[in-house]
Amino acid sequence: MTNWGYRINKDRQIDFDRNDRRLAMYIRKYEPSYQLCISCGACTATCSTGNLTDFYNIRRLNIFLMRGEIDEIAKHIDKCMFCGKCELVCPRGVNTRKVILIMKEGIKKIKHNEQL
């Protein structure tokens, strides 16, 4: 077939009936306070890494988590410097550092095809 130079864009549709909720369920089990998040953005404003990069913050990770985009989380989660500022400013009392730790463990288990 002739290559006409048209590009086919990747499908950016997220099907909430069929997304990968393994990691979300894992976190819900071990640190349920993550569900308290109201996306207020205080964590984003104060994030040390977010200040030095253009992408990373824990609020965004929550969105990836709900959508089931575990690969996106894995790409960015190692940037967290664990400073703890997000936890101090959170108005809802989410235990953010524990969430990051558990996410990292969950991702490791998924990569090794272990039971979550």
Binding site: T46, F82, K85
Partner: protein, 604 residues
């Protein structure tokens, strides 16, 4: 003198088993130590340090000086058992050598002496009979106190005692019977053969009047031997393994071995040296304020020894250092927590976004740290002080920067922490500063311990004190009643207790609180504990506030931005950082020269 009867066998089997097991374990431990550690041991044995080792063994393993400091009655109990038993063995050995004809005696000769030796009409008999009975009474007083402690720990100033595992229960059961059985056996023999002292002789005569002592004498010695034998046999698998292991620990520690970021056999020796005394449970604020004693240091060490360390337990610790401070054996508990965390988590990190650009140069580098950025009042106060004192400084992380790395270390990710250290060190060295000043004790601790900087590192309280002492800053004293809270990372963590107080004495009327210096309480805001939720941290904080209010201060002064933020949540009083207090009491001095005055090492 060949004293032998078949009843000595349980004792002998127990003793020889213990010796063989311990020597084998010690050999295995030492053989697999890292090479530098073994070299240190070799050098240490042949040096004067060996005197320090014997001194510490005498003062701590026998006299239990550190436990006396926690509670005198508790110290007496442990001392009477340890030192009393030690003296019984020494005196007993001398006694059996004097009565016997050979220089070498079988190990059971001193233990069962009164059974074999009935002729006590020698000139030295009165002395030995008295001394041995006195020492037995001494030990029995400790045994009695030990029974009491199980029933009412409160008399010893402890809120709780340790929950015992099976082998410990077996060991304690046999240990608690040893000396009462010795008393019984010796007394029965004394009642028949009149070879006792004031205690055994008196009791023996009494017993002989009411019961046929002859029938029971042999059985009593059998029971005594069985109890000692059982105790020795079970010892290597129980808490009492600390008795021989502690000696190795004291010696190796004095020779320079340490637990740092890896679990070596020295760390294993530390784990086996835990006597499960329970003082750590008493000092832990989570056990006291939250009623949660499961993650206390003693149970944590138990889990390391059993090789069943659980994530929840190793992360549920504030790393405040209170347990480590009061541990009578001096186990480096904080390091052990972090090492186990390191083993349990995935040590991944990705800090490629840390770029190091050019760095302006100055004599003093000020590093605010993540937490100070979250408490801008401290930042403003520090900048004011630095400007007013005409210090030549550069604000390293003015627009935010990389975290110092200690929170990462506390979470167990040593690899990530190393990377952060590398990046920050580069920018510190590029500034060519002579002094690094930080307003956060968490950063201060890691700068001092892990960064290996060739320049001087100061906490802002030390630095401001130096400015005041050198005349670059002048402050007025007010009548404000202030109480100072020692932050965990600055106080117990870095041993900086005096400088903040000295500085505050220039500015306010400092009052004391019941928990100060090494005994200070943790504010609860710890970055070391990943498991606590905000409500539990609040509870701890509220009980700390109660203690701080004891002498009716008007303001609480902290030296740590995290403490300040934590205390502010439940504050009945204003909470101020040291820098803010200094700013409030400063008079602005306008200097005649226009050049910047640098704070050099000489002035300090």
């Amino acid at each position: 003198m060949n004293n032998f009867d078949i009843f000595v066998l349980p004792f002998a089997i127990g003793l020889y088993t213990l010796l063989i097991v311990f020597i084998a374990k010690a050999y295995d431990w030492i053989k697999h130590l890292p090479v530098e550690d073994r070299r240190k041991i070799g050098k240490g044995i042949l040096s004067r340090k060996i005197f320090g080792v014997f001194k510490e063994i005498f003062l701590e393993s026998l006299l239990h000086r550190k436990i006396f400091k926690v509670n005198p009655l508790l110290g007496y109990m442990h001392m009477s058992l340890a030192f009393g038993w030690f003296l019984l063995i020494i005196m007993g050995t001398i006694e059996s050598k004097i009565y016997g004809r050979d220089l070498l005696n079988a190990p059971w000769d001193p233990i069962f002496f009164k059974y074999f030796m009935h002729d006590t009409n020698k000139f030295h008999s009165a002395f030995f009979n008295f001394t041995m009975d006195f020492l037995l009474l001494f030990v029995l007083s400790g045994v009695g106190l030990a029974y009491a402690k199980r029933i009412r720990a409160k008399i010893f100033g402890l809120k709780k005692t340790t929950k015992q595992i099976l082998f410990d229960k077996l060991a304690i059961f046999s240990l608690w019977l040893i000396f009462p059985l010795r008393l019984l056996a010796e007394s029965l023999t004394a009642g028949i053969h009149h070879n006792g002292g004031f205690l055994t002789g008196g009791l023996g005569t009494l017993l002989a009047r009411f019961i046929p002592a002859g029938h029971f004498e042999y059985t009593a010695w059998w029971l005594y031997s069985l109890s000692v034998g059982t105790f020795f046999f079970v010892l290597p698998w129980s808490r009492y393994m600390h008795i021989p292991t502690e000696i190795l620990l004291i010696a190796f520690r004095r020779f320079g071995l340490k637990t740092k970021t890896g679990f070596t056999n020295f760390s294993q020796i530390e784990v086996y040296s835990c006597p499960r005394c329970g003082i750590c449970i008493d000092k832990c604020q989570m056990a006291g304020d939250l009623g949660n004693e499961k993650p206390a240091a003693v149970y944590f060490l138990n889990s390391i020894r059993a090789q069943k360390v659980k994530t929840n337990l190793s992360f549920d610790c504030m790393i405040c250092g209170r347990c480590e401070q009061f541990c009578p054996v001096g186990i480096s508990l904080n390091e052990h927590r972090m090492i186990q965390r390191n083993k349990l988590i995935s040590n991944s990190y990705n800090f490629h976004f840390l770029k190091n650009g050019s760095q302006p140069k100055a004599k003093v580098a000020y590093y605010a740290g993540c937490m100070t950025h979250l408490t801008p009042s401290i930042k403003k106060a520090m900048i004011y002080i630095l400007d007013e004192s005409r210090t030549d400084y550069v604000f390293l992380d003015k627009d935010g920067g990389a975290c110092c790395g200690r929170p990462m270390m506390l979470s167990g990710n040593f690899g990530g922490a190393e990377k952060l250290i590398e990046a920050n060190k580069e920018s510190i060295l590029k500034s060519e500063a002579e002094i690094l000043v930080t307003s956060c004790p968490i950063c201060y601790k890691i700068f001092r311990k892990q960064y290996n900087l060739p320049i001087r590192v100061m906490h802002h309280s030390e630095f401001i004190l130096a400015l005041v002492n050198s005349g670059s800053l002048s402050i007025n004293k007010s009548a404000l009643r202030a109480v100072y809270h020692d932050p965990c990372e600055l106080g117990r963590g870095s041993k900086v207790y005096e400088e903040p107080r000295e500085l505050l004495n220039h500015a306010v009327d400092l009052v004391s609180s019941p928990y100060e210096m090494e005994n200070a309480l943790c504010c609860g805001g710890s970055l070391g504990n990943i498991m606590l939720n905000y409500e539990e941290k609040d509870r701890i904080n509220q009980s700390v506030w109660k203690e701080m209010m004891t002498n009716h201060p008007e303001v609480l002064v902290t030296a740590c931005p995290l403490c300040k933020k934590t205390f502010n949540k439940n504050a009945p009083l204003p909470v101020k950082d040291i820098a803010e207090i200094v700013v409030e009491s400063m008079k602005v001095r306008h200097l005649t020269t226009t050049s910047k005055i640098t704070v050099t090492e000489a002035a300090l």
